[in-house]
């Protein structure tokens, strides 16, 4: 298991510093780097309480609760936070794959990315939640703000082990229903499910007006199939073994793979979903920085 410290690679964090994960739809005009809504106090519905954290505006301390419980709670309003980020992490067994030339498995890479993004969102005083899944939802950490929440995120990441089959499509449907608060849904997955099922799930997010970013995590070996010798491939998710003449099958494999990626890409484009193909041998800081920079330009 990846050590928690390594989730926060200083180089990655350094490159993310100064960048913002910006919402596309939720708060119009939130483009100046402000993380408080300009419509604060206007038609704002109470959403929930949360424990007071240093730095919270004292105006929103619920004194009634303080009187009843002797504890400081801040009132949370739905639009108080401009950005709620849902990190959706695929923890199926297939994510454990690590190709011969890759420094990390896909899952470890996803964990690092999740940690970095959580840090980034929390750093900009927004809320971040995290969900892990395989064929079903495995763990849920509700979105919250504050630096203390980062520990919760990391703890969950640390506890996440690869297991089970992938069923991304149904899980996405379920999450789309669950995520009541509109926000940014960041998918970290290899998306190795039927493309129509995956796209249907993504479409569901779209209908729920979530801003979806799909980081499609792929190992270089999966994308290029660099095998020449007769090889017996052992399924990580299903207990099957397929012996093949790798050299003979390579072309067909790459055709299938490319067709799948193209289909996925086209579907994402159709539903205005940010699709980012990420090979796990690429440096994470570079991937995130490039993506965030590009996103900023797109949203301008």
């Amino acid at each position: 298991m990846q050590d928690s410290k390594t989730y926060f690679d200083p180089r990655t964090l350094a490159r993310l510093k100064g960048l913002r994960l910006r919402a596309r739809q939720i708060v119009e005009g939130f483009v100046a780097g402000l993380h408080r809504s300009p419509q604060r106090g206007f038609s704002i519905e109470f959403a929930e309480h949360r424990e007071y954290a240093p730095g919270d505006d004292l105006r929103y301390v619920d004194w009634k609760v303080l009187g009843r419980t002797d504890k400081l709670y801040s009132k949370q309003f739905e639009d108080e936070t401009n950005l709620v980020c849902h990190l959706v992490l695929d923890a199926s067994a297939g994510m454990a794959y690590q190709g011969p030339d890759s420094p990390l498995s896909k899952l470890d890479y996803a964990k690092c990315a999740a940690a970095a993004l959580a840090w980034l969102v929390l750093e900009q005083q927004d809320a971040v939640g995290i969900v892990t899944f395989d064929a079903k939802i495995r763990k849920v950490l509700a979105p919250a703000r504050g630096s203390a929440h980062l520990r919760n995120v990391v703890r969950l990441l640390e506890a996440t082990e690869p297991a089970g089959e992938t069923a991304a499509g149904p899980v996405f449907h379920e999450l789309a229903e669950r995520f009541r608060t509109r926000g940014v849904v960041v998918l970290l997955s290899d998306l190795f499910d039927a493309p129509e099922s995956v796209l249907a799930g993504l479409k569901h997010f779209h209908y729920r007006r979530h801003d979806v970013i799909a980081f499609h995590l792929l190992d270089r070996a999966e994308a290029e199939f660099p095998f020449d010798d007769p090889t017996r491939f052992r399924g990580l998710e299903q207990p099957i073994r397929i012996p093949v003449d790798a050299r003979a099958i390579r072309r067909a494999y790459l055709d299938e793979f490319d067709r799948y990626v193209r289909e996925l890409e086209a579907g994402c484009r159709q539903w205005s979903i940010d699709y980012e193909r990420v090979e796990t041998d690429r440096p994470l800081d570079e991937v995130l920085a490039r993506y965030l920079t590009g996103r900023r330009h797109r949203l301008r």
């Binding site: 190795f192 017996r232 399924g235 093949v244 003979a248 299938e256």
Partner: protein, 733 residues
């Protein structure tokens, strides 16, 4: 290879057993079915794409694999069929070359040296080869050919019927005239054995014909004069027709060098060596003249025109060798006749600084006269060096350096001494026994004559001592080479030698003994024999000086003081030397044999034959002895000329050994064809050689072998297989 007929309606196989190789076509299939691939296992997440790819590719891959497999199997099967050489039996045509009975042609071609005679631009052998070639090309499709070179002995060049004409023609072209004679009996026996075996193994060859190509030279064909040979050939001919193809013409001319020898045996650098050569016209009238050229180690040293009007001319020439060593001397005649092989003769000459001789005395001074005769005082430089030793002088002495050993009045010998003397004589040394009063007759007979059955060292058994009267010597018409120089020199003192006392010598029971000198009563007094490569002489009286005051009646003989004694001793030495070097000259077909060359014990010798081909042979350690070292043999030699023998690894040219032809083969008289036995169906080149009766020759189209087409198909398949394998491979990459 057996031919298989009727395998398919229109096809037959020239080499049926080769079809067995078609089983190899199953090898790729077996490999495909039995091969267990070794897979490297790897975990994998993207199984869905792999499965989809497999579903898409599996069918096509299987088809590709089977296509390649079928191509590879077809390739091997077609190759096997091509090797079996299938031939069409004709598509309904009347081509009898293809459909007639198949014949086994046994060509027997005379390669004796008379076949090198150039009657025209071509030699008789080349003419024979041309006639044989015509027969091969005109033979029926499917006929088989074998080839025997009629030499002495006969050499089988193609033992099993060959069906590829190109191969047969190639082997035919390689025939060349040998430098020896030919054995008709041997050649026909070889041909019969080949024919009999082929009949058994190749039932498809229903007919056999033996064709003998020869110039009918009398020496070769005189085999037929032997009733045994005649009877045998008669019997064969009843089974197999023998066709005689005669080449050449009755008229011929030839001269040959029939003799070349040194006039004396000891050659030293300080004197001229004199050679005698004989050039003989072997034909009746021509040639009348010839140019004789003498060469020493390839350098011309003497030239002379020779008049052959009388038939035989003796040529004498001299040459002074400047330093000791071994030389090859050749005499050749140029421009004389169309048969060159016998126009050369070679001899090997050993030039020595001096010669060492050992005299063993049974009593003090017993060899004094012999020593004086060998090395007269005051003659400088001494060419002969005589060493004298006492009765035990043979013990532990290396006898190898001595050219001759004189044993004078030695009483008896130890068995080791006798063994040493035997080995010495065996390896080419000369022994001369002079008897006397000390000699123990019984011991001599026991040790030197009777001891080893069939290998008596002495040329005669010793009997009693006779002193009945004074005898004189009888030269026995000077027949023996030892006394031949005294012919016409009756006053040289040989006939007046008084022999007062002598041992009776009985050579009758001794194999190979020759009497050189006798007594006036008919008894032998000087007897000799060959022993191994050496020579042994036995003089029945004493040559030791008599003690002072000995009465004349008690003397043995005054021969050592007679003027004829020194020449006799020197002639003895000459004969011994000639024997010692005789092994350096053989007739073609003979064997060179000698002690080691150079340092004794040299393990390998290099022999370069007259054609320049080198051969190496191990020295036979089994024949080693204390005196002369190991012996070696090389032969029978095939070519006339000089063979250079040297220790392996030594850069020097080596010692020349010479092989000369038997000039009897150069007498090109023919047997009368009309007198030939009826067993030979004769064909002369004058009568043409187009159609050979029953030979299956004749018209008809070219045979239609499918082998070429099949091989083309094999090549095409190889090409297609390579392309497909590359294409399939490229599709995968």
């Amino acid at each position: 290879m057996e031919q298989v007929e009727g395998l398919w309606g229109w096809w037959e196989l020239a080499s049926g057993p080769m079809l067995g190789w078609s089983a190899a076509a199953l090898v790729p299939l077996a490999v495909h079915l039995l091969r267990r691939r070794t897979y490297r296992e790897t975990p994998w997440a993207a199984m869905r794409f792999l499965e989809a790819a497999m579903r898409r590719r599996a069918g096509r891959m299987r088809i590709e694999q089977w296509l390649l497999l079928i191509l590879r199997m077809a390739l091997l099967a077609l190759l096997a069929v091509a090797l079996a050489d299938p031939r069409s039996r004709g598509s309904g045509s009347t081509d009898h070359r293809a459909t007639g009975p198949k014949t086994h042609w046994v060509f027997v071609i005379d390669v004796s040296y008379s076949m090198a005679y150039h009657a025209s631009e071509r030699s008789l052998l080349e003419e024979s080869k041309s006639l044989a070639r015509d027969r091969i090309q005109a033979a029926a499709d499917g006929d088989g050919f074998t080839l025997v070179a009629m030499g002495a002995p006969a050499q089988t060049r193609i033992a099993e019927p060959a069906f590829d004409r190109a191969d047969v023609l190639r082997e035919l072209e390689r025939l060349e005239p040998l430098h020896g004679g030919a054995s008709l009996d041997d050649a026909l026996d070889a041909a019969r054995r080949i024919a009999t075996r082929a009949k058994r193994r190749y039932p498809r060859l229903t007919r056999t014909r033996i064709c003998v190509f020869s110039d009918l030279q009398r020496t070769t064909w005189s085999d037929l004069d032997s009733p045994g040979v005649r009877r045998r050939i008669d019997a064969w001919a009843r089974e197999i027709p023998i066709e005689l193809v005669e080449v050449g013409e009755p008229a011929w001319r030839n001269a040959a060098v029939t003799r070349l020898e040194l006039a004396h045996s000891l050659v030293t650098p300080d004197q001229d060596a004199r050679f005698l050569a004989e050039i003989r016209r072997l034909s009746t009238d021509h040639p009348r003249r010839a140019r004789a050229i003498a060469l020493v180690d390839g350098q011309v040293v003497h030239e002379a025109d020779v008049d052959l009007t009388s038939g035989t001319e003796t040529l004498a020439f001299s040459h002074r060798f400047l330093k000791p060593g071994d030389y090859a001397v050749e005499l050749r005649i140029a421009g004389a006749d169309p048969l060159d092989i016998d126009n050369h003769r070679w001899t090997s000459v050993r030039v020595r600084d001096s010669l060492r001789v050992l005299c063993v005395e049974g009593a003090p001074g017993a060899a004094r006269y012999v020593a004086i005769a060998i090395e007269p005082s005051g003659v400088e430089p001494a060419r002969l060096r005589c060493e004298t030793a006492g009765p035990s002088g043979l013990v532990d002495r290396d006898l190898g350096p001595y050219a001759c050993i004189f044993l004078c009045n030695v009483p008896t010998f130890q068995s080791e001494e006798v063994e040493s003397l035997r080995r010495y004589a065996d390896s080419g040394g000369g022994l001369v026994f002079f008897l006397g009063d000390q000699v123990q007759t019984d011991r001599y007979n026991e040790l030197l004559h009777d001891g080893e059955r069939g290998r008596a060292l002495l040329p005669a058994r010793l009997g009693s001592v006779e002193a009945d009267r004074v005898h004189s010597l009888d030269p026995l018409e000077y027949r023996h080479p030892l006394v031949k120089p005294f012919r016409s020199h009756e006053r040289a003192g040989l006939l007046t030698v008084p022999i007062q006392r002598h041992f009776r010598l009985d050579p009758t029971g001794t194999t190979g003994s020759r009497v050189a000198l006798g007594l006036d009563n008919g008894e032998p007094i000087l007897v000799e024999k060959d022993y191994g490569r050496g020579r042994v002489f036995l003089f029945g009286s004493s040559v030791s000086p008599a003690p002072a005051g000995t009465a004349t009646a008690d003397l043995w003989t005054e021969f050592p003081t007679w003027p004829s004694f020194p020449p006799i001793v020197h002639e003895l030495l000459a004969l011994v030397l000639r024997s010692a070097d005789a092994h350096r000259e053989v007739q073609v077909g003979g064997v060179f044999e000698s002690e080691s060359i150079g340092e004794p014990g040299a393990p390998r010798l290099r022999i370069i034959d007259p054609k320049g081909d080198a051969a190496w042979l191990d020295v036979d350690g089994g024949r080693s002895n204390a005196s002369r070292g190991p012996a070696w043999r090389h032969g029978p030699v095939t070519w006339s000329g000089v063979y250079r023998v040297a220790p392996d690894g030594k850069p020097d040219a080596g010692i020349p050994y010479c092989a000369n032809v038997d000039t009897a083969e150069g007498v090109l008289d023919r047997v009368d064809p009309a007198a030939m036995p009826s067993i030979f169906a004769r064909e002369s080149t004058d009568e043409g050689h187009g159609e050979v009766s029953g030979g299956g020759g004749g018209g008809g189209g070219e045979p239609r072998s499918a082998a070429r087409g099949l091989l083309a198909a094999v090549l095409a398949i190889v090409l297609v297989e390579c392309l497909l394998a590359s294409l399939f491979g490229a599709g995968r990459s």
